[in-house]
Structure formats: C-alpha cells, structure tokens
Symmetry: C2
Subunit: 279 residues, 2 copies
C-alpha cells in the first residue's frame, strides 16, 4: 500500500494532512484527510474518530469548518475524513448532487453502472482503517461520526459492525433513507429495488432490531430545511424505543443544516467519543 | 441606508448573518457578514471586532473557517467581516489574483480605472461602521484585525485612525507593502508612482513614525510560504524599536499561511481585543 502526501498544515500543535492512494475497493485514486494531534508525535498511539461527510462534500469540509481540531488536540484523538464517494473521470456519475460522485451513501453498489466503483461501505469499514492503522501512530480504537448522508453512514456502519466501534454519533443524519427522497433515489440506483436490501442500510431499521448497543449521540437542528422530508429523527427515536436502544437525541431550536450548527456542538461529540475511546 | 438580509445561521447561541447593501463609497452593491453573540439578543450593545480578509477572500472565509464564533459568543463581541474589494460586472478587475476584485488592499484608489470603485479605506473606516452602528445592537467600541492583505489593512487603518480603535491585531500581515511584490503591484495600480503616498499605507512606515500607540498583537507562522518575500515581519519589528511601539510579535514554528494557523491562535486574539474593548 503506497500513499502520497498531498498537503500538510500545522494546527493546534498537531498536523492536518491530506493523502492520495489507490483504493483496491473503489478501483480508483482516493483522497483522505487526517488530523494527528500533538500526542501522536510523542510515540503514543492515539485512537481515531472517523468522520463521514454529507452530500457534495469532500475530505476537506469537516477539517476546515467544524472547529474540531482544537478539541482533538486537547483530547489526543486523531480524526480521519474520507471523501464521500469514488472520484475521477472513469467513475460513473449523475447530474444530480444527490447521486454519483460526492454521494456514495456508504453502501456497496450492486447495480450497474455503479457497482464498478461505488463500494464506500467496504472502503470505510475495511480498507481505509487498515491503511490508517498500518501507516500512522494510531491504535485500533475507533469511533465514527458524520453529518447528514454521513450521519446515516456513521450510524449504519457502527450498528452493522458494533465490535469495531467504541461509539457512534451523528449531526442531522438521514435517519430513515428507505422512506425519504434522497435515500430512495440512491438506494434504488445503488442497491436495486429489493427493500430487504435497503433495510440493511437504514439506521432506523437497524436500531429497531438491535440487540447489541453502541453508545450513540445524535444532534439535530429544528430550523433544518431538510428535517421533515429527508431526515426524520422521530423515526429513529421510535425505533430506539422498540429495542430499548440508549439513544441520546438532542433537538436544538433555531439551528440549521450547516457547519455553523455542527461547529456549535462538535465539542460535546468529541468529548463523548473520547470518554468511550479511553475506556 | 437600506440593507438586505441574505442569510441567517444560528451558531453558538448567536447569529451569523450576511447582508447586501448599496455602498455609496464604493459605488456598487456590497456584501458583509456579521456575527451577533447571544448577549446582543438581550438588549445589550456589544463591541465590534472588524475582520479584514486576505487576497481572494470574501466575507465568508473567516466566519466559516477561523473558529472565532465560539469565543465571540463567550466574550460578547460582535464580528463584522466585509468583502475584500468592490465587486460586480461594472467594477474594474485584473487577471491576477492580487489586483482588482478580491484584492482592494484597503486604500482609496486615485488612479484610473480603479478610482471609480476602489475606496476600501473609506468604506472600512467610515461607511461600514456607520451602517453597522445604525442597524445592529452594537456599541461604538471597535477593534480591528485581519489576515495577510487584511493584516496590512487592520494595522494601517488602526494606526491612521487610532482614536477609532481600542486595539489592533494581525495574522501574517503584509508588513511592508512598499517593498514587496504584492504591495508594489497594488500600490502602483491604485495609488500611482509617488512613494510618499504609498508610505501612508505602509504598516512599518506608520509604526516607525508613530507617537500615539494602539495596543497591537501580531502572529506569524515560520513555515509560511510568503514570509520572506511578501510579509517581512522583521521590518515591522525594527520599526517598532525606532518609535518604542509596544508591538507583541509572536513567531510560530511550523505554522503556515492558512486558516489552520489562524484558527490555532484566534482565541488569543479575541481575548486580547476583549480586554481592550471592555476597558
């Protein structure tokens, strides 16, 4: 596995870096960002928070806008932000912002033309952590978080692989993609028409049926333009009641879908993950 | 004076907003951003930090990337970020990123074709504060800060109008524009060839001759690609020694010219300004 360093910025005593590498899983060149806190320079292996971004985003949005590096530096946590889909000229795409490049939805596509490259689930669960843990001074302690489409990704991945994650969290996640326009469009394209397959990547379905619990924290703004049609936190909440999943769901008056919301509460999420990563 | 609200985002209990307005000074429509901390919603008039951005930036970069709103919310300071030049189809421009739109250099242009719109000095010193103080729950206490070209702007404006600003600060400022490529190009275009005119907008020249002192803090990364050719903090430092200006200049190993640097030290700047604004 060879990776190429693309950029380096010192921040809060640690290092924010971008790397490019050839992904076997995605069959293309991928870019990711990593923040290594100061503790990682002192021979200590630090735990990793994986951050999954939302529609149209890349590895850059979270690192630039969330205000997370200050807290990661204090807590001694690395942050890894992958891109949101396979990329490149030979990679299938769609004119919509909500399908194709920038909209991988963290599933393994089974349908043409998407199945040639769109295996973001395997990439995030397996290939990327293997690469990170082989390359950087990090431990195998992992947590996962994300925003919107990435919130869907974080919750579903952690519930599908609870043994791999100490904790999960989300900002404004797509909680029930099987029933919302974004999810129906993407799942139809990537997974076909079989709703039993969709259910395996629906956070509310997974939470309703869960028997093994991952510590979880979800924050949602009540002035979010996508709240009612696309996000549906009430469905996740109802699912948690069925399985007695210990869901912490916080609703915030006045906050919207932007990084101005995420940055306001990212500190609470990082401290939540740190508590579980350091157990 | 009529202004149009263009966007609203709740952040850290306060409000980040963008407005458009017709500027008489600049003879075009301008956009600015303002962060109103929670204290401004409680009938209290809060002081204002004006932030001047660098080349190619708009009113958005600082609000999105600096991580400043958290601290402004705690300290009860409003932040106002103007655009970096006049804008629009009828406004003169240049192919270079370092002249014309996005590169107003915070001076009043005297040379054609720039003199029709490029009066950023008057806009920042007079028209914008008048508009802000007439429209929002803010006091007439002002501080000023900025980055790179905006650092030059903040230092020169506060030294030219010391009675208007409680404190000034800068990240990676262009300290001696008269002698660096960015400054020589812009000053020649906007101000003509008379170097006596240039000197009135050169932070090092102003500091060398100063008799009235504004509290000042400057931070500079030592891995900044522009350090030697464009920024020249050593010239500012030498000037401060001549006039006994109480300059606090902090040099930081490993940090570059980006917002990853600014965000690492913005908290110290906001606390510095708060101490002087609340006297």
């Amino acid at each position: 596995m060879t990776i190429e360093n693309l950029s380096v910025n010192k921040s809060f005593g640690g290092w924010q870096k971008q790397y490019g590498h050839h992904s076997k899983t995605l069959n293309c060149t991928m870019r990711f960002a990593i923040y290594l806190p100061p503790q990682a320079s002192n021979g200590k292996k630090v735990p990793v928070l994986y951050w999954l971004s939302g529609l149209t985003c890349s590895d850059e949005n979270f690192m630039q806008k969330a205000g997370a590096l200050r807290i990661a530096a204090e807590l001694g946590i690395a942050i890894v932000a992958p891109d949101t889909s396979p990329r490149g000229e030979g990679v299938a795409d769609d004119e919509g912002y909500d399908l194709g490049q920038g909209a991988g939805f963290y599933v393994n596509a089974t349908q043409a033309p998407w199945n040639r490259h769109y295996h973001m689930y395997d990439y995030v669960v397996n290939e990327l952590p293997e690469l990170i843990e082989a390359t950087f001074p990090v431990s195998q302690q992992r947590s996962i978080s994300g925003h919107s489409m990435g919130g869907h990704g974080a919750l579903t991945i952690a519930m599908l692989k609870p043994e791999r994650y100490s904790s999960m969290s989300a900002f404004s996640p797509i909680n029930n993609p099987m029933t919302c326009p974004w999810g129906k469009k993407a799942f139809t394209a990537y997974l076909g028409k079989d709703k039993a397959t969709w259910a395996k990547h629906d956070a509310s379905e997974l939470m309703r049926q869960a028997t093994q619990f991952v510590p979880v924290k979800v924050d949602q703004g009540l002035s979010d333009d996508f709240l009612t049609e696309q996000l549906k936190p009430e469905v996740l909440e109802a699912a948690a009641k069925v399985s007695n999943y210990p869901l912490e769901l916080n609703l915030h008056e006045g906050y919207d879908h932007s990084y101005y919301f995420i940055s306001s509460f990212i500190e609470e999420h990082l401290r939540f993950h740190a508590n579980h990563l350091n157990k």
